[in-house]
Symmetry: C2
Subunit: 442 residues, 2 copies
């Protein structure tokens, strides 16, 4: 039997020491975020009341391509990084494709997803600046669990607003956050003005990332020593996530290959940017022509059906105005099980890259995503998160094209998380009870 | 900041090529298992109707210390092995102990526990011998999920009897098994004669590993082309699990240390034997004096309160008579959340080793186990399985002794699995609703 390498690791010394800031190297810089009161371009100081100051500076830093990872954060990365780069021999065989499929397995993080990469960084900067309490929002709970853990690690109290439908669908994630000592409140709630307004207008509101963000920001603004943290969408979150792609680049080199395509699921853009941007920098320099494909749910298709314009990042309009692909900040996505993808807009950087044709987007129906997830589970042994199933579905489509053409394309996708805490959604799929949701604007 | 190594890995070439069979090197061999009909020592052929033949031979092989791992099994080990050996700096700091604490992290397996190590081997041998269907029992569902996956991988149909109380407490594990295509039935059930008899005697029976084993064996015996597989207790299961300790031995060498103590939780003995036996072989040769500590639940204390005698491995008396520490095969353990430890007896090898003073046993109350688990989660980031919490509790006791004496002892424990599918039990703990269960015979 041939000795085929299945998984590639890096030593702890090879874990990246810098994050990659694509903002510094984009051929067309994004339009500036605007202060909604003045319509003036945002300055870092405008964000200081809400975020740790260093994160505000990272958010608007368009000059430094490389940002050093603090030693304290890198020490914590060692708890689970490097994550394995895996050759999906099992999936390739199941598909009968000549494509070489690799995935970066972020599901091995102790919280089960890539979210910890940014949570650790945000908690560290908050702590360094004397913050005592952090707030945040969470959808499926992947981000909330990661933030709860990171807060505990750096000695911070955490309050998490969880989208109500996910709070009910995924009680285990609530328990995980509480195990780390966080306070968890379903959103919309009566604990904030924003929540009360939303519930007054619609007492049966199921919640969305937009409502939860509004509530978390309001709590941070009205609580001394408290800052807000965000799990996706913003530039600094994608910045921290580039540790994924930077590791993958070194690991692909160990495998002796380079990706023709890089694929990730898309909610706000952090896992997509995290795996894509480090490879995209070579495209920007003309050194490669990799395709970058974001896979979003057909029920919440801001990239494939949204409008590019200034919009708020949250339901209540507390955030700066961001130039983004959006379905409108008051759009309430249907209750698909991929809770982490139920967000109305796309991050500023990714929106500009899509506008400029430097990346692509596809949409995937809920049932197709679970078809892909179950096939992956049965061939690779890992039950993927419903969010990650979208990346797998897009990968399977491309691998099927290779089967037709006979091309040995190299496909790399991000397995952003596992689905062990989402088994209720697999139950529904196996029972034939899952449905697709049409997007009215299509 | 000093660059302290957190995790140690092996390359795929260094994954062991042989399992270690301690049966061949024990100073006092265990008494033979007996055929209950004839009271004669069991021969491999007596087991052929129930198990794959190669597994029967492994079960009674007391002459070969090293058994080659088939290439096909080793290829699948690469999907998740080597598992990391981790230095628990966070836990050490939380305890203020000078002890060096390491854990072998088996929770990174795709099914979340060590069980896959033997499931893959058993499924492989069944397939090789032309078996088409396998049955098994499962408690918490860790073994059932692993067997469901391994069966799928080697093209076998799987039927799993899950202990009723775990089936109800842990619905996600049922979903995991079903995602891999297995049939899952709560035990005791009306689908077998054994189940009917148990339910007739006690209609509210909550099930135990003993009842589930009886049902699974009966189904295998009465179904052509079908074999039974077992997740612990038997010699061949512990044999397969020695891949844990053999890896850990190489990884401890990378860390430049050797364990003064090896600790694991104890249900039937497979994760304990898996990590302990490879180190114990050096004790047997007088080359080391490591202590080996099995941590069992105080509510099901066969090692610390049981009797050493011949007993059945299952409730209905279908198995051979095994010389073991036992609480009696009709003992129904209380409904502790560590479902995988709710078993009345101990494996034959471990029983003999305990009798001969070559290892120790301690018992841990349920609340102490969760105290330990939450402290571990908050300091190492991994939420442990309720079973593994027992090993952590025993480790914490030993680390506390080191704090008193100032000794820098090296402690290695097996983190047999994560608790992400057991969050309901953490909910109860955090709500203050967990109780300890006294063992009447103490």
């Amino acid at each position: 039997m041939s000795e085929k390498t299945k998984r590639y690791f890096l030593s702890e010394e090879e874990i990246p020491r810098y994050w990659y800031n694509i903002l510094a190297e984009m051929p067309v810089k994004p339009l500036p975020p605007l202060n909604p009161a003045t319509r003036e371009p945002l300055k870092p100081e405008d964000l200081y009341p809400v975020f740790a100051e260093e994160l505000c500076r990272q958010e608007l830093n368009s000059s430094d391509a490389w940002i050093e990872i603090p030693d304290e954060v890198r020490e914590k990365y060692k708890y689970y990084r490097s994550t394995p780069l895996v050759r999906a021999y099992g999936l390739e065989a199941a598909l009968g494709t000549p494509a070489h499929i690799y995935f970066k397995n972020e599901s091995v993080s102790p919280m089960g997803s890539h979210k910890l990469n940014s949570a650790l960084a945000q908690a560290y900067y908050c702590r360094k600046e004397g913050v005592t309490n952090v707030t945040t929002e969470t959808g499926a709970g992947q981000w909330g669990a990661s933030m709860a853990y990171a807060a505990r690690l750096f000695g911070l109290e955490a309050a998490v607003y969880q989208v109500k439908v996910s709070y009910e669908q995924k009680p285990y994630r609530r328990s995980m956050m509480q195990t780390f000592g966080a306070q968890v409140t379903p959103s919309p709630s009566m604990s904030t003005r924003a929540g009360k307004d939303i519930l007054t207008a619609n007492p049966h509101h199921q919640g969305s990332l937009g409502t939860a963000i509004s509530e978390a920001i309001e709590l941070a603004r009205t609580t001394p020593g408290c800052k807000y943290t965000l799990g996706s969408v913003l530039n600094h979150v994608a910045l921290h996530q580039t540790v994924i792609g930077l590791e993958a680049e070194k690991q692909m080199a160990l495998a002796g290959e380079y990706p023709d395509m890089v694929i990730a699921c898309f909610g706000g853009g952090s896992n997509f940017g995290g795996i894509a941007f480090p490879f995209m920098r070579h495209n920007l320099k003309g050194a490669s022509s990799t395709r970058f494909i974001a896979a979003e749910p057909a029920s919440c298709p801001k990239l494939t059906c949204g409008e590019f314009r200034y919009d708020f990042g949250d339901e209540a309009g507390y955030t700066p105005l961001l130039p983004m692909f959006t379905l409108g900040h008051d759009f309430t996505p249907p209750n698909v099980h991929a809770g982490g993808l139920r967000y109305h807009g796309a991050g500023v950087i990714v929106s500009q890259l899509l506008k400029d044709g430097l990346m692509e987007a596809v949409d995937v129906e809920q049932i197709e995503s679970f078809d892909a997830g179950v096939l992956f589970a049965r061939s690779e042994g890992i039950i993927p998160a419903p969010e990650s199933c979208h990346a797998i579905a897009a990968t399977i489509r491309e691998a099927a094209k290779c089967r037709e053409t006979g091309e040995e394309k190299v496909i790399l996708f991000c397995l952003s998380g596992h689905g062990l805490v989402d088994m209720a959604s697999y139950d529904k799929y196996l029972a034939g009870d899952l449905v697709n949701y049409a997007y009215k604007g299509r």
